[in-house]
Every structure is written in structure tokens, then in C-alpha cells.
Symmetry: C2
Subunit: 213 residues, 2 copies
């Protein structure tokens, strides 16, 4: 099993198509792709601060909005011929930092609430999710593929945003309340750990196949 | 400023020279380099569990011992001609996971102690430190160098281990107690954030120089 993403390539293309007109409009306001990358990062930091203040639903909405916003920099760059290696590098690095910071905010929010199990799940999700992306980059350094696995970034963000939004619904949605968020974090932690193992095995297989050719 | 490591290359070579006889002895016990990598990771997980239980000094000692142990896999692999791309990939990936897990353990330990500022600093240190290593790998994917900066992994581990050991001394070393650990985490978080910025600038400069040639 190689572990496929549950967002199909067709859906990705459709979402990208929808992003283009918005991206071009932002470009006409004088914003460069790199400026959009930095704005998106600032919005994600806002989501992290909201999470640290236990404003779960606000944090979830900001995470979704700026997760979608993150499509615009690449769309504008491609449409205006401004795609650059530096832009791609900056985008990847700030995406990674942003996801870490939102999970950090959730950990701090749970610490404030005195819910140690929430802190535990948030830091485990951070620990494994960040290695998912690292393992792929490290595989690519030696010319291999590392993009397999059940928990790529877009899926992790959707699960985290859903957990945040549901956790913050006043009165406790379906009686679960903050448990929605702990379940989402647990799912991200486990799926990310599995993905790290999938990527390690995938790299090993590619190297073995290389030797047998 | 490129930001130099405070561990000189000569010191690194000396430490590697000392590691070789121990590595060869472990090899004679029948252990392969990859087995040493996995043993070292297991020991680091032990440090993480100790930290989560607020056994700070034990966690610091385990972190130091298995940080040194981490030199043996590479030394044995080189000395026996078993150095492999997969071994290097496994070592990098588990090193990254191990550091994240120890910081996660510290965050959980501070959450148990009800010290939210400690949780905050631990998760910020994780968020930025993991991007330090990611940024380097991502730079290398596009054929650039990314190893600059004031907070490479060995330095982060020494500071964290020192903070852990001092924080756990009974009676509170020099009256600071757990503040040693919060200071160490704050230093790691700030130095790692600076290093991420240094690496982004370094990548930008290399790409600009490439265009001007």
C-alpha cells in the first residue's frame, strides 16, 4: 500500500482553477506572489494566537481561510510568469512554520485549560507531522520520491481546522466539545507517524530497486 | 553574517575519532549501523518519556548519552564500508523525530506542572527548530546550500541537555530550578527562528548570485 491522498488530483485542479481569478485580482492590487506568501503566513500566525487563547472556532476559520489563501501565491506566480525557486522555497518554509505554530498554539491553549492530554496530542501531532514533510524533502535531496503516505499537509490542515471549528461551538457540538479537537489531533499524530514509516519504507524500496537494475 | 557554529570542525573531528573504537566494539557485538540508529532513537524516546514525567535531570543525561551514541552509527558505517543512502536517510529522519519528541516530552512535563510559559517555550522551540533542519533539506533539493545559522542541531541538543540537567538538580541549582530549562528553551526558540531567517536569506543570495553569473 502506498497510501493515497483523499483529495483527488481532479479536485486539486478544480480548486486551483477557482483560485486563479482571485489571485489575479490580488496581483492587480500590486501584491507580488511573495507578498501573498508572507500575508498568508501572518494570517496563520493569527490562527495560532487564537488557538493559544482557546478561541478554537476562530482559529479553525482563520486556518481554513489562510489555507485557501495559500493557493493564491503559486497561482499568481504561475499566471504572471513570476514563479521562482526562491518563491517556492519561501512558501514551503513558511507553510511548515505556520502549521507548527498553529499546533503550538493549540498546545498552549490546552495548557491554559489544564488539559494535559490535549497538550500531549498537540505536541505529538507536531513532532510527527513536521517529520512527514522533512522526510519527503530529505528523500528528494538524494533524487528519490517521498510524497507517499496517508497524511500529506492539505489533509492534516483540513482535519485540524474541522477539529478546531467543532471544538469551539458554544454549548459543545453533539456533547463532545473540546474532545473534537483532541480526536483530530490524535488522528493527525497517528496518521503522521504512519506516514513517516510509509516514507521510510518507500525510500528503502526505491534504493533497493535502483540496486537491482 | 553567516552565523558560525560554536563547535569547531577540529572538535568535531576529534569527537569522531573518539567515537570510532566504541563504534567498532559495538559492531563486533553483531550490531549493524542501522541497528545502532534505531537503538539511539529508542534511547531518545526514553529521554522524552523521562521529560514528560518531569524527571528533568534523567532526561538531560539520556539526551546527552544518546546524542553521543548517535555518532556511532555513522562511524561504524564508514569504518566497515556499510555507509548507505538509506542509512543516512533513516538516521536523519529519526534524529529529527527524536529531537521533536524530547521537546514534546518537555512540553507535557511543563503542562503536568501547570507551567504554561514552559509549554509555550517548548512548543515554540519545536516549531522553529524543526524548520531549521527542513529549510536546509529544502535548499539542498534545488541544489543550494542551507547549512548556515547559529542553531544547528548539535548546539540545540547541548543547550537543551544542559537546561534539563540543571533544572532537575534537587533544591534548585543556584536558586533557578526549572527556570534553567525555560531559559534553555527560550534560547533554542529564538536562535532557531533567527537561523530560519538566516537560511532563507542565504538561499535568496545564492539564487541571486546564480542569476548574475
Amino acid at each position: 500500500m502506498t497510501g493515497r491522498s483523499f483529495v483527488s488530483p481532479a479536485t486539486r485542479d478544480r480548486v486551483r482553477g477557482l483560485a486563479l481569478p482571485v489571485a489575479l485580482a490580488l496581483g492587480r492590487l500590486g501584491l507580488t506572489p511573495n507578498a501573498l506568501t508572507i500575508l498568508g503566513f501572518a494570517g496563520t500566525v493569527g490562527a495560532a494566537v487564537a488557538a493559544a487563547a482557546q478561541q478554537w472556532t476562530l482559529a479553525g476559520i482563520l486556518l481554513l481561510v489562510f489555507g485557501i489563501f495559500d493557493l493564491f501565491d503559486g497561482a499568481l506566480a504561475r499566471a504572471t510568469g513570476k514563479a521562482s525557486k526562491f518563491g517556492a522555497f519561501l512558501d514551503s518554509t513558511l507553510d511548515r512554520t505556520g502549521e507548527n505554530l498553529v499546533l503550538a498554539g493549540v498546545a498552549v491553549g490546552f495548557a491554559q485549560a489544564g488539559l494535559t492530554v490535549g497538550v500531549l496530542l498537540a505536541v505529538l501531532a507536531t513532532a510527527f507531522a513536521s517529520v512527514v514533510t522533512y522526510a519527503r524533502a530529505k528523500a528528494e535531496v538524494v533524487g528519490l520520491h517521498g510524497e507517499v503516505g496517508i497524511a500529506p499537509r492539505s489533509e492534516r490542515l483540513v482535519v485540524l481546522a474541522a477539529g478546531l471549528v467543532l471544538a469551539g461551538i458554544p454549548g459543545g457540538f453533539l456533547g463532545f466539545g473540546q474532545a473534537w479537537l483532541t480526536v483530530a489531533l490524535g488522528a493527525i499524530a497517528v496518521a503522521s507517524a504512519v506516514t513517516v514509516i510509509q516514507r521510510i519504507i518507500h525510500v528503502k524500496r526505491q534504493l533497493e530497486q535502483g540496486e537491482n537494475q
